[in-house]
Symmetry: C2
Subunit: 222 residues, 2 copies
């Protein structure tokens, strides 16, 4: 009966950050965590934290907070991260390499097991422990895996062909790091990572701080 309401994107986006902090606290032997501790860490109001965590079906106990291990399990279950997502990645350039070396993924149950590129200087080399395979071998290598998740890190001109190739080989979810909108069938999920989205949020924060400073100065003068 839980999770009937579709949670808002910012709430879902924050889940990995809660998870990371909770796993850290759990490793330090902290059995309970208060809303206040999480709110301080997240730079959010306590009420927002409580609302966010409601989507996992877990409620904090007054004066005690959340059971750390219970909340970790609930967030993982909500996101489907209690099972490992095996993923393939297309495009082993600097962004692809950065993602292959990203410290955080292991904790989220994301395992990039296959990497493809079309550049003959890269094929056969190893980046962060993964062999770069020729994109021409995608069908042969994907077939035995029943893999559902593909990451696209190619230059934008090659992103649609890469998506078509992934879809033709059974991929049902695409994490798109290229700077274009992809066309995929209705039964394929796409998440486009727009890196400038974060810059837009930061730009608005800068404008707010500058306005506050200006108001403060006016107040000082007056």
């Amino acid at each position: 009966m839980a999770n009937l309401k579709v949670p808002k994107a910012p709430t879902i986006r924050r889940m990995p950050t809660y998870l990371q902090k909770l796993v850290e606290l759990h490793a330090e032997g902290v059995p309970f965590v208060s809303t206040t501790v999480l709110a301080n860490y997240m730079n959010l109001e306590s009420i927002v934290v409580r609302k966010d965590l409601e989507i996992t079906g877990i409620s904090g106990q007054p004066g005690v907070g959340y059971k750390t291990d219970e909340l970790i399990a609930a967030i993982r279950k909500f996101l489907g991260w209690n099972n490992v997502f095996e993923a393939c990645l297309v495009g082993a350039g600097s962004l692809g390499s950065a993602l292959l070396g990203y410290e955080g993924f292991e904790g989220y149950g994301l395992r990039i097991s296959l990497v493809f590129d079309s550049d003959h200087r890269k094929i056969g080399t190893t980046i962060h422990g993964r062999i770069i395979h020729d994109i021409k071998r995608i069908t042969e290598l994907l077939k035995p895996c029943a893999m559902r998740l593909g990451m696209i890190c190619v230059p934008s001109a090659y992103a649609q062909p890469a998506a078509d190739l992934l879809v033709a080989n059974g991929i049902k979810a695409i994490w798109n790091f290229a700077n274009v909108s992809l066309q995929v069938p209705d039964d394929v999920a796409v998440q486009r990572e727009v890196i400038a989205g974060g810059f837009a949020l930061l730009s608005v924060k800068i404008a707010q701080l500058e306005a506050a400073k200006k108001n403060g100065e006016v107040r000082n003068v007056g």
Copy 2:
């Protein structure tokens, strides 16, 4: 009097994507763009697009849509992107390199002019046209610039020291790509880029598609 309401994070995050599409259309000589065209491109309902664009103070005309150049100017003004943001970047590893090579930034008025690292194998080399400077020279090189924006792309253990260094040298906004929460003074804006946030959104989309498929199958059986 406009923009009194604080827009929601997803709306702000979508602004660069609208902007990119509008600039593309403008370059193709398209003088007006309908809500429907934008909604299709964004994979959103028309009503959401209309609400999103309201924050720029521009309204579409019934049957005609938005004036492309007017909307471009309004989005840039809303985000403060009509002036160039000069930025410095700390950490020229694979993620830093990927950001230096990112195709999209120039269109958003973001110019990464100074790059720092502490690795002597990198210092003095050039990545995507930028010289990598010794982090020890940060004060000397930042001082003449009046730069406000710093990007942190160092491993998480070095992120807080990097932030302290940036703040001590007058940086007022930090775009944090390291996987940690930073402590900064109240008058400094921080945007933490949690790459797994996008994966969380994709995971929820996957679960929704699987639930829909299951329901479809049940319906087929019954």
